[in-house]
């Protein structure tokens, strides 16, 4: 009897009440429940819902964490790869350089590019690394080696080798007495 009444009430509320909750079947197979109850109060139907708040599983935390992922820090090796890829993908470089493009190939002298091609290369680098390169710096970027050094300076890439593990005590704690 009570169940019949509750089902009918549910139908009515879903029609009239704009904030009707649907019973969630997402976690139907798990222990959590979203239980919807109906109450009739002063001939005005209201729906209350309570759910047992369950903590998230590790998979759910991982899903959330994917939104906040940052890319790995650039190392000089990866930087060199990216710069060489950008330079080698350039049409005129492919035509001009039948031999391989190394770090010390000068665009103007060795490959015979002119200043307009140089501007195109710089635009490609800007698109790759995501920041504007100023006019005064165009003169510096005539070889891939120079580009790499410029990027290391601008992107604050750490080139020092990682500290070797040693059994000395931490020098930060050597407080002079």
């Amino acid at each position: 009897m009570f169940s019949i009444i509750s089902r009918r009430c549910l139908n009515i509320t879903l029609r009239y009440c704009p904030f009707a909750y649907q019973v969630s079947t997402k976690h139907a197979h798990t222990l959590s429940k979203k239980v919807v109850t109906n109450t009739i109060c002063n001939s005005k139907l209201q729906i209350f819902s309570y759910n047992q708040n369950r903590s998230l599983t590790l998979d759910e935390w991982a899903e959330i964490g994917k939104k906040f992922e940052t890319p790995d820090a650039l190392t000089p090796q990866k930087l060199i790869e990216r710069v060489m890829r950008v330079v080698n993908d350039f049409d005129k470089v492919k035509e001009a350089a039948k031999t391989e493009v190394t770090e010390t190939t000068h665009f103007m002298n060795d490959l015979g590019l002119d200043s307009l091609d140089h501007v195109e290369i710089i635009v490609a680098l800007e698109d790759e690394f995501g920041f504007e390169i100023a006019d005064v710096d165009y003169d510096k970027l005539y070889t891939p080696r120079a580009i790499v050094e410029y990027m290391i300076q601008k992107l604050h890439i750490n080139t020092s080798p990682p500290p070797l593990p040693s059994s000395d005590s931490d020098p930060r704690h050597n407080i002079p007495h």
Binding site: D91, S115, L116, V119, E120, I122, V123, D135, Y138
Partner: protein, 127 residues
């Protein structure tokens, strides 16, 4: 010879249009080239009826800039820069139409090209 010694120095200097020396003019030229380069994907779409691809547009841009590569007078370079910048604004704001934009592309010229080689002149009948 004597007159040039007596001309006041102020008359020997010329008022610059935009830039004072070749280095500044070169910087302006490269900047103009850069903004045209960045606009190329949009030009392709805005004037899509010309059926340009991006490499074609880059070639067109390069040819237009190389047309004036032998100019040495700074004031002329500045005038050309101003014209180039005005053309850029008209192209970017789509105040042009497909035909106007296609005027930059010499390969779409429709006037009759004069024959250069023997065989073409032979076909024409002028040997």
């Amino acid at each position: 010879m004597a007159l040039s010694n007596r001309i006041a120095p102020i008359l020997k200097e010329i008022r610059p249009v935009l830039s004072v020396n070749h280095a500044e003019a070169k910087r302006r030229v490269l900047n103009l080239y850069k903004i045209w380069l960045r606009q190329i994907p949009y030009i392709r779409v805005d004037y899509i009826s010309n059926n340009w691809t991006e490499p074609e547009l880059r070639k067109i841009l390069k040819d237009n800039f190389l047309q004036n590569k032998n100019v040495t007078d700074i004031r002329v370079i500045d005038r050309l820069l101003v014209k180039g910048q005005m053309d850029f604004v008209e192209t970017a704001e789509i105040w042009r139409q497909a035909h106007n934009a296609a005027l930059f592309d010499r390969s779409m010229d429709t006037y009759k090209i004069k024959p250069k080689h023997f065989l073409e002149r032979f076909y024409e009948g002028h040997h």
